[in-house]
Protein backbone atom coordinates (compact mmCIF):
# COMPACT_ATOMS: atom_id res chain seq x y z
CA UNK A 1 0.00 0.00 0.00
CA UNK A 2 1.43 3.38 -0.96
CA UNK A 3 2.36 5.79 1.81
CA UNK A 4 -0.15 8.38 0.49
CA UNK A 5 -3.02 5.89 0.79
CA UNK A 6 -1.77 4.82 4.21
CA UNK A 7 -1.71 8.44 5.38
CA UNK A 8 -5.23 8.96 4.02
CA UNK A 9 -6.40 5.89 5.95
CA UNK A 10 -4.87 7.21 9.20
CA UNK A 11 -6.51 10.60 8.68
CA UNK A 12 -9.90 9.00 8.08
CA UNK A 13 -9.49 6.89 11.22
CA UNK A 14 -8.56 10.02 13.19
CA UNK A 15 -11.61 11.83 11.85
CA UNK A 16 -13.87 8.99 13.00
CA UNK A 17 -12.23 8.75 16.45
CA UNK A 18 -12.07 12.48 17.23
CA UNK A 19 -15.81 12.99 17.80
CA UNK A 20 -15.86 9.86 20.02
CA UNK A 21 -13.07 11.24 22.21
CA UNK A 22 -14.60 14.71 22.22
CA UNK A 23 -17.96 13.28 23.33
CA UNK A 24 -16.51 11.28 26.22
CA UNK A 25 -14.74 14.39 27.48
CA UNK A 26 -17.69 16.71 27.03
CA UNK A 27 -20.14 14.36 28.83
CA UNK A 28 -18.43 15.07 32.16
CA UNK A 29 -19.30 18.25 33.97
CA UNK A 30 -21.68 20.24 36.11
CA UNK A 31 -24.68 21.15 33.99
CA UNK A 32 -26.60 23.05 36.64
CA UNK A 33 -25.77 23.97 40.23
CA UNK A 34 -28.10 22.83 43.01
CA UNK A 35 -29.01 26.44 43.67
CA UNK A 36 -29.86 27.16 40.01
CA UNK A 37 -31.94 23.96 39.78
CA UNK A 38 -34.00 24.93 42.85
CA UNK A 39 -34.41 28.53 41.72
CA UNK A 40 -35.69 27.31 38.35
CA UNK A 41 -37.98 24.71 39.94
CA UNK A 42 -39.67 27.16 42.30
CA UNK A 43 -39.60 30.23 40.04
CA UNK A 44 -37.04 32.00 42.17
CA UNK A 45 -38.87 31.50 45.48
CA UNK A 46 -37.07 28.48 46.93
CA UNK A 47 -38.85 27.16 50.05
CA UNK A 48 -36.99 26.18 53.19
CA UNK A 49 -35.62 22.66 52.94
CA UNK A 50 -36.77 19.71 55.04
CA UNK A 51 -35.14 16.38 55.75
CA UNK A 52 -36.26 12.76 55.93
CA UNK A 53 -34.20 10.62 58.27
CA UNK A 54 -33.35 7.28 56.72
CA UNK A 55 -33.69 4.79 59.54
CA UNK A 56 -35.52 1.62 60.55
CA UNK A 57 -37.88 0.17 57.92
CA UNK A 58 -37.38 3.18 55.67
CA UNK A 59 -33.67 2.37 55.42
CA UNK A 60 -34.59 -1.14 54.26
CA UNK A 61 -37.07 0.16 51.66
CA UNK A 62 -34.57 2.71 50.36
CA UNK A 63 -31.98 -0.07 50.05
CA UNK A 64 -34.52 -2.19 48.13
CA UNK A 65 -35.17 0.65 45.69
CA UNK A 66 -31.49 1.43 45.13
CA UNK A 67 -30.36 -2.22 45.33
CA UNK A 68 -27.72 -1.13 47.83
CA UNK A 69 -27.51 0.53 51.23
CA UNK A 70 -27.98 4.32 51.18
CA UNK A 71 -24.81 5.90 52.49
CA UNK A 72 -26.32 8.89 54.28
CA UNK A 73 -28.52 9.20 57.36
CA UNK A 74 -30.89 11.78 55.92
CA UNK A 75 -32.19 13.02 52.57
CA UNK A 76 -33.03 16.67 51.99
CA UNK A 77 -35.91 17.96 49.91
CA UNK A 78 -37.71 21.18 49.10
CA UNK A 79 -41.50 21.35 49.01
CA UNK A 80 -44.09 23.94 48.08
CA UNK A 81 -47.74 22.90 47.93
CA UNK A 82 -47.83 19.69 45.84
CA UNK A 83 -44.44 20.26 44.23
CA UNK A 84 -41.29 18.79 45.72
CA UNK A 85 -37.67 18.84 44.52
CA UNK A 86 -34.99 16.26 45.30
CA UNK A 87 -31.27 16.40 44.68
CA UNK A 88 -29.91 12.88 44.81
CA UNK A 89 -26.60 11.23 43.99
CA UNK A 90 -26.38 7.74 42.59
CA UNK A 91 -23.40 5.89 41.17
CA UNK A 92 -23.65 4.98 37.49
CA UNK A 93 -20.68 2.74 36.91
CA UNK A 94 -17.98 4.19 39.14
CA UNK A 95 -18.77 7.83 39.85
CA UNK A 96 -21.80 9.49 41.45
CA UNK A 97 -24.22 11.23 39.10
CA UNK A 98 -26.16 14.13 40.63
CA UNK A 99 -29.83 14.13 39.64
CA UNK A 100 -32.46 16.77 40.22
CA UNK A 101 -35.97 15.32 40.39
CA UNK A 102 -39.14 17.45 40.50
CA UNK A 103 -42.41 15.84 41.55
CA UNK A 104 -45.82 17.40 41.08
CA UNK A 105 -48.86 15.82 42.73
CA UNK A 106 -47.13 12.45 43.05
CA UNK A 107 -45.91 12.32 39.42
CA UNK A 108 -42.55 13.17 37.93
CA UNK A 109 -42.63 16.70 36.50
CA UNK A 110 -39.10 16.36 35.20
CA UNK A 111 -35.72 14.86 35.98
CA UNK A 112 -32.36 16.39 35.12
CA UNK A 113 -28.72 15.42 35.32
CA UNK A 114 -27.14 18.22 37.35
CA UNK A 115 -23.61 16.79 37.36
CA UNK A 116 -22.17 13.87 35.39
CA UNK A 117 -18.80 12.40 36.28
CA UNK A 118 -18.70 9.10 34.37
CA UNK A 119 -16.72 8.69 31.17
CA UNK A 120 -19.64 6.99 29.41
CA UNK A 121 -23.41 7.12 29.55
CA UNK A 122 -23.81 10.89 29.33
CA UNK A 123 -26.64 10.45 26.81
CA UNK A 124 -29.11 10.18 29.69
CA UNK A 125 -29.00 13.95 30.17
CA UNK A 126 -30.70 14.66 26.85
CA UNK A 127 -34.39 15.66 26.99
CA UNK A 128 -35.11 13.00 24.37
CA UNK A 129 -34.31 10.44 27.07
CA UNK A 130 -35.48 12.22 30.24
CA UNK A 131 -38.95 13.01 28.86
CA UNK A 132 -39.76 9.30 29.18
CA UNK A 133 -40.04 9.94 32.92
CA UNK A 134 -42.51 12.83 32.65
CA UNK A 135 -45.78 12.03 34.44
CA UNK A 136 -44.40 8.68 35.69
CA UNK A 137 -45.74 7.49 39.02
CA UNK A 138 -45.20 4.48 41.25
CA UNK A 139 -46.91 1.12 41.35
CA UNK A 140 -45.58 -0.43 44.51
CA UNK A 141 -41.91 0.48 44.34
CA UNK A 142 -41.71 0.32 40.53
CA UNK A 143 -42.32 2.96 37.91
CA UNK A 144 -45.71 2.67 36.21
CA UNK A 145 -44.03 2.49 32.80
CA UNK A 146 -41.18 0.93 30.90
CA UNK A 147 -38.12 3.12 30.34
CA UNK A 148 -36.27 2.45 27.09
CA UNK A 149 -32.54 2.02 27.61
CA UNK A 150 -29.69 3.75 25.85
CA UNK A 151 -27.01 1.65 24.21
CA UNK A 152 -23.74 2.07 26.12
CA UNK A 153 -25.45 3.87 29.00
CA UNK A 154 -27.20 1.00 30.76
CA UNK A 155 -25.81 1.71 34.24
CA UNK A 156 -26.55 5.42 33.98
CA UNK A 157 -30.13 4.59 32.90
CA UNK A 158 -30.50 2.27 35.89
CA UNK A 159 -29.17 5.01 38.18
CA UNK A 160 -31.68 7.55 36.87
CA UNK A 161 -34.54 5.06 37.10
CA UNK A 162 -33.62 4.16 40.70
CA UNK A 163 -33.37 7.80 41.73
CA UNK A 164 -36.79 8.68 40.27
CA UNK A 165 -38.35 5.70 42.06
CA UNK A 166 -36.69 6.81 45.30
CA UNK A 167 -37.87 10.41 44.94
CA UNK A 168 -41.43 9.27 44.15
CA UNK A 169 -41.46 6.96 47.16
CA UNK A 170 -40.03 9.55 49.54
CA UNK A 171 -42.52 12.10 48.21
CA UNK A 172 -45.36 9.87 49.46
CA UNK A 173 -43.93 10.21 52.97
CA UNK A 174 -43.99 14.00 52.88
CA UNK A 175 -47.70 14.53 52.18
Amino acid sequence: MSSVRLQLRYKLLLLVMLPMVAFSVSARGVYQTDEAFLTETFDGKVPKSSVIWIKGDLRKTVADILSHKYSGMRIRYWQQDERSAWILNEIGKEQPITFGVVIDAGKIAHVKVLAFRESRGGEIRYPAFTRQFTDAGLIGLELDRHIDGVSGATLSVWAMTAVTRLALYLDTLTT
Binding site: D34, G72, R74
Partner: protein
Protein backbone atom coordinates in the same frame (compact mmCIF):
# COMPACT_ATOMS: atom_id res chain seq x y z
CA UNK B 1 39.86 -27.44 22.48
CA UNK B 2 38.23 -29.69 25.09
CA UNK B 3 40.52 -28.22 27.75
CA UNK B 4 39.45 -24.71 26.69
CA UNK B 5 35.75 -25.59 26.86
CA UNK B 6 36.21 -27.34 30.22
CA UNK B 7 37.74 -24.17 31.64
CA UNK B 8 34.76 -22.10 30.40
CA UNK B 9 32.35 -24.77 31.62
CA UNK B 10 33.76 -24.57 35.16
CA UNK B 11 33.65 -20.76 35.22
CA UNK B 12 30.08 -20.67 33.96
CA UNK B 13 29.13 -23.45 36.41
CA UNK B 14 30.47 -21.42 39.37
CA UNK B 15 28.57 -18.34 38.21
CA UNK B 16 25.34 -20.24 37.66
CA UNK B 17 25.55 -22.14 40.97
CA UNK B 18 24.27 -19.23 43.07
CA UNK B 19 21.39 -18.67 40.66
CA UNK B 20 20.54 -22.38 40.68
CA UNK B 21 20.60 -22.51 44.48
CA UNK B 22 18.20 -19.58 44.77
CA UNK B 23 15.96 -21.02 42.07
CA UNK B 24 15.92 -24.46 43.71
CA UNK B 25 15.34 -23.25 47.29
CA UNK B 26 12.58 -20.78 46.36
CA UNK B 27 11.06 -23.42 44.06
CA UNK B 28 10.89 -25.94 46.90
CA UNK B 29 9.36 -23.32 49.23
CA UNK B 30 6.74 -22.35 46.63
CA UNK B 31 5.93 -26.01 46.09
CA UNK B 32 4.71 -26.08 49.70
CA UNK B 33 2.77 -22.81 49.71
CA UNK B 34 -0.42 -24.46 50.88
CA UNK B 35 1.33 -26.71 53.44
CA UNK B 36 2.94 -23.74 55.14
CA UNK B 37 0.06 -21.31 54.39
CA UNK B 38 2.49 -18.91 52.77
CA UNK B 39 -0.38 -17.13 51.04
CA UNK B 40 -1.90 -16.26 54.42
CA UNK B 41 1.23 -15.21 56.27
CA UNK B 42 2.47 -11.67 55.82
CA UNK B 43 5.75 -9.81 56.03
CA UNK B 44 5.52 -6.21 57.19
CA UNK B 45 9.17 -5.37 57.67
CA UNK B 46 9.59 -1.66 56.87
CA UNK B 47 12.21 -2.25 54.14
CA UNK B 48 9.93 -4.76 52.37
CA UNK B 49 6.94 -2.38 52.47
CA UNK B 50 9.21 0.37 51.21
CA UNK B 51 10.57 -1.85 48.46
CA UNK B 52 7.05 -2.68 47.28
CA UNK B 53 6.10 1.00 47.49
CA UNK B 54 3.34 0.44 50.01
CA UNK B 55 4.90 2.12 53.02
CA UNK B 56 4.07 5.70 52.12
CA UNK B 57 0.63 7.02 52.91
CA UNK B 58 0.58 10.68 52.10
CA UNK B 59 -2.52 12.68 52.88
CA UNK B 60 -3.46 15.63 50.69
CA UNK B 61 -4.78 17.66 53.62
CA UNK B 62 -4.58 17.06 57.38
CA UNK B 63 -6.46 19.07 60.03
CA UNK B 64 -6.55 18.87 63.79
CA UNK B 65 -10.07 18.01 64.93
CA UNK B 66 -10.28 18.46 68.66
CA UNK B 67 -8.41 15.33 69.71
CA UNK B 68 -8.71 13.58 66.34
CA UNK B 69 -7.06 13.98 62.98
CA UNK B 70 -9.12 14.77 59.89
CA UNK B 71 -7.44 13.93 56.59
CA UNK B 72 -8.15 13.61 52.89
CA UNK B 73 -6.48 11.14 50.55
CA UNK B 74 -7.77 11.63 47.01
CA UNK B 75 -11.53 11.85 47.47
CA UNK B 76 -11.68 9.77 50.66
CA UNK B 77 -12.01 11.52 54.03
CA UNK B 78 -10.71 9.96 57.23
CA UNK B 79 -11.16 10.76 60.90
CA UNK B 80 -8.00 9.23 62.31
CA UNK B 81 -7.78 6.05 60.21
CA UNK B 82 -11.55 5.57 59.79
CA UNK B 83 -13.00 6.25 56.34
CA UNK B 84 -16.01 8.49 56.94
CA UNK B 85 -17.12 10.16 53.70
CA UNK B 86 -16.04 11.25 50.26
CA UNK B 87 -15.38 14.68 48.84
CA UNK B 88 -14.21 15.50 45.35
CA UNK B 89 -13.33 19.02 46.47
CA UNK B 90 -10.37 19.66 48.78
CA UNK B 91 -11.31 19.97 52.44
CA UNK B 92 -10.46 23.16 54.30
CA UNK B 93 -11.03 22.04 57.89
CA UNK B 94 -13.45 20.51 60.36
CA UNK B 95 -15.16 21.27 63.67
CA UNK B 96 -17.17 19.46 66.32
CA UNK B 97 -20.59 21.08 66.57
CA UNK B 98 -23.04 19.90 69.17
CA UNK B 99 -23.13 16.12 68.57
CA UNK B 100 -21.91 16.32 64.99
CA UNK B 101 -18.67 16.66 63.13
CA UNK B 102 -18.78 19.22 60.34
CA UNK B 103 -16.15 18.97 57.60
CA UNK B 104 -15.85 21.89 55.22
CA UNK B 105 -14.79 21.51 51.61
CA UNK B 106 -14.49 24.43 49.22
CA UNK B 107 -18.17 24.26 48.28
CA UNK B 108 -20.00 22.15 50.85
CA UNK B 109 -20.31 21.03 54.45
CA UNK B 110 -20.13 17.29 55.14
CA UNK B 111 -21.95 16.22 58.29
CA UNK B 112 -21.02 13.21 60.39
CA UNK B 113 -22.82 11.81 63.41
CA UNK B 114 -21.22 11.46 66.81
CA UNK B 115 -20.25 7.90 65.80
CA UNK B 116 -18.61 9.09 62.57
CA UNK B 117 -21.49 7.94 60.36
CA UNK B 118 -22.10 10.05 57.26
CA UNK B 119 -25.28 12.13 57.57
CA UNK B 120 -25.38 14.29 54.45
CA UNK B 121 -23.57 16.87 52.36
CA UNK B 122 -24.99 20.39 52.50
CA UNK B 123 -24.19 22.61 49.54
CA UNK B 124 -25.37 25.76 47.79
CA UNK B 125 -28.91 24.38 47.48
CA UNK B 126 -29.27 24.72 51.26
CA UNK B 127 -27.66 28.14 51.29
CA UNK B 128 -24.11 27.15 52.20
CA UNK B 129 -21.82 29.99 51.08
CA UNK B 130 -19.46 29.02 48.25
CA UNK B 131 -15.68 29.38 47.95
CA UNK B 132 -15.08 28.34 51.55
CA UNK B 133 -11.51 28.94 52.73
CA UNK B 134 -11.71 27.80 56.36
CA UNK B 135 -14.13 26.79 59.09
CA UNK B 136 -14.08 27.59 62.79
CA UNK B 137 -16.10 28.15 65.93
CA UNK B 138 -17.07 31.31 67.76
CA UNK B 139 -18.93 30.93 71.04
CA UNK B 140 -19.74 27.36 70.03
CA UNK B 141 -21.34 28.36 66.70
CA UNK B 142 -20.02 27.64 63.18
CA UNK B 143 -18.15 30.31 61.24
CA UNK B 144 -17.07 30.13 57.60
CA UNK B 145 -14.43 32.27 56.00
CA UNK B 146 -15.07 32.51 52.26
CA UNK B 147 -13.67 34.59 49.41
CA UNK B 148 -16.74 36.80 49.86
CA UNK B 149 -16.29 37.43 53.58
CA UNK B 150 -17.06 35.77 56.88
CA UNK B 151 -20.36 34.00 57.61
CA UNK B 152 -21.96 32.71 60.80
CA UNK B 153 -24.84 30.34 61.43
CA UNK B 154 -26.48 28.26 64.14
CA UNK B 155 -26.56 24.51 64.88
CA UNK B 156 -28.93 23.87 61.95
CA UNK B 157 -26.58 25.60 59.48
CA UNK B 158 -29.36 26.37 56.98
CA UNK B 159 -29.16 30.15 57.31
CA UNK B 160 -25.89 32.02 57.07
CA UNK B 161 -25.40 35.69 57.81
CA UNK B 162 -22.41 37.78 56.94
CA UNK B 163 -20.38 38.83 59.94
CA UNK B 164 -17.01 40.20 60.97
CA UNK B 165 -15.78 38.55 64.13
CA UNK B 166 -12.48 38.36 65.94
CA UNK B 167 -11.31 35.54 68.14
CA UNK B 168 -12.64 32.74 65.90
CA UNK B 169 -11.13 29.38 66.74
CA UNK B 170 -10.23 28.21 63.20
CA UNK B 171 -9.61 24.61 62.21
CA UNK B 172 -5.88 24.40 61.60
CA UNK B 173 -3.58 22.30 59.42
CA UNK B 174 -1.40 19.81 61.25
CA UNK B 175 1.12 17.06 60.63
CA UNK B 176 -0.13 13.48 60.40
CA UNK B 177 0.85 11.60 63.60
CA UNK B 178 2.93 8.45 63.05
CA UNK B 179 0.33 6.26 64.75
CA UNK B 180 -2.35 7.38 62.25
CA UNK B 181 0.06 6.92 59.32
CA UNK B 182 0.63 3.32 60.40
CA UNK B 183 -3.11 2.70 60.77
CA UNK B 184 -3.77 4.25 57.35
CA UNK B 185 -1.01 2.12 55.81
CA UNK B 186 -2.75 -0.94 57.25
CA UNK B 187 -6.07 0.31 55.84
CA UNK B 188 -4.65 0.76 52.34
CA UNK B 189 -2.17 -2.08 52.17
CA UNK B 190 -3.62 -4.68 54.48
CA UNK B 191 -1.24 -6.71 56.63
CA UNK B 192 1.76 -6.42 54.33
CA UNK B 193 3.22 -8.62 51.61
CA UNK B 194 2.44 -12.35 51.64
CA UNK B 195 5.42 -14.67 51.98
CA UNK B 196 4.27 -16.43 48.81
CA UNK B 197 4.44 -13.18 46.83
CA UNK B 198 7.88 -12.34 48.27
CA UNK B 199 9.37 -15.80 47.53
CA UNK B 200 7.77 -15.89 44.07
CA UNK B 201 9.27 -12.49 43.25
CA UNK B 202 12.72 -13.80 44.27
CA UNK B 203 12.10 -16.95 42.21
CA UNK B 204 11.19 -15.08 39.02
CA UNK B 205 13.48 -12.08 39.52
CA UNK B 206 10.68 -9.54 39.87
CA UNK B 207 12.06 -8.56 43.28
CA UNK B 208 14.65 -6.54 41.34
CA UNK B 209 12.06 -4.95 39.10
CA UNK B 210 12.75 -4.63 35.37
CA UNK B 211 16.43 -5.36 35.96
CA UNK B 212 15.50 -8.74 37.47
CA UNK B 213 14.08 -9.89 34.15
CA UNK B 214 17.37 -9.18 32.36
CA UNK B 215 19.46 -10.78 35.11
CA UNK B 216 17.26 -13.87 34.87
CA UNK B 217 17.70 -13.88 31.08
CA UNK B 218 21.47 -13.67 31.54
CA UNK B 219 21.57 -16.63 33.93
CA UNK B 220 19.22 -18.55 31.63
CA UNK B 221 21.69 -17.97 28.81
CA UNK B 222 24.50 -19.20 31.06
CA UNK B 223 22.49 -22.36 31.75
CA UNK B 224 22.16 -22.98 28.00
CA UNK B 225 25.92 -22.54 27.58
CA UNK B 226 26.53 -24.85 30.55
CA UNK B 227 24.34 -27.56 29.06
CA UNK B 228 25.91 -27.29 25.61
CA UNK B 229 29.48 -27.27 26.91
CA UNK B 230 28.72 -30.24 29.20
CA UNK B 231 27.22 -32.20 26.30
CA UNK B 232 30.16 -31.31 24.07
CA UNK B 233 32.68 -32.59 26.64
CA UNK B 234 30.67 -35.77 27.24
CA UNK B 235 30.54 -36.54 23.51
CA UNK B 236 34.26 -35.91 23.09
CA UNK B 237 35.14 -38.08 26.07
CA UNK B 238 32.99 -40.99 24.95
Amino acid sequence: MVHHIRSWHRTIGALAALFLLILAITGIILNHTLDFKLDERHLNWPWILEHYGVSDVKADHVYWLDGNVLSQIDDQLFVDANPVAKSREPIVGGIHLDEMTVIASEDALILLSEDGEYIETMSSGVGIPSDIQRIGLHNGLPILQTRNGMWRSDFIMEEWKQTNLEGVSWSILTEMPDSVINDLAAYFHGKGITIERFVLDIHNGHILGALGKWILDFFGFLMVLLSLSGLWMWIKKS
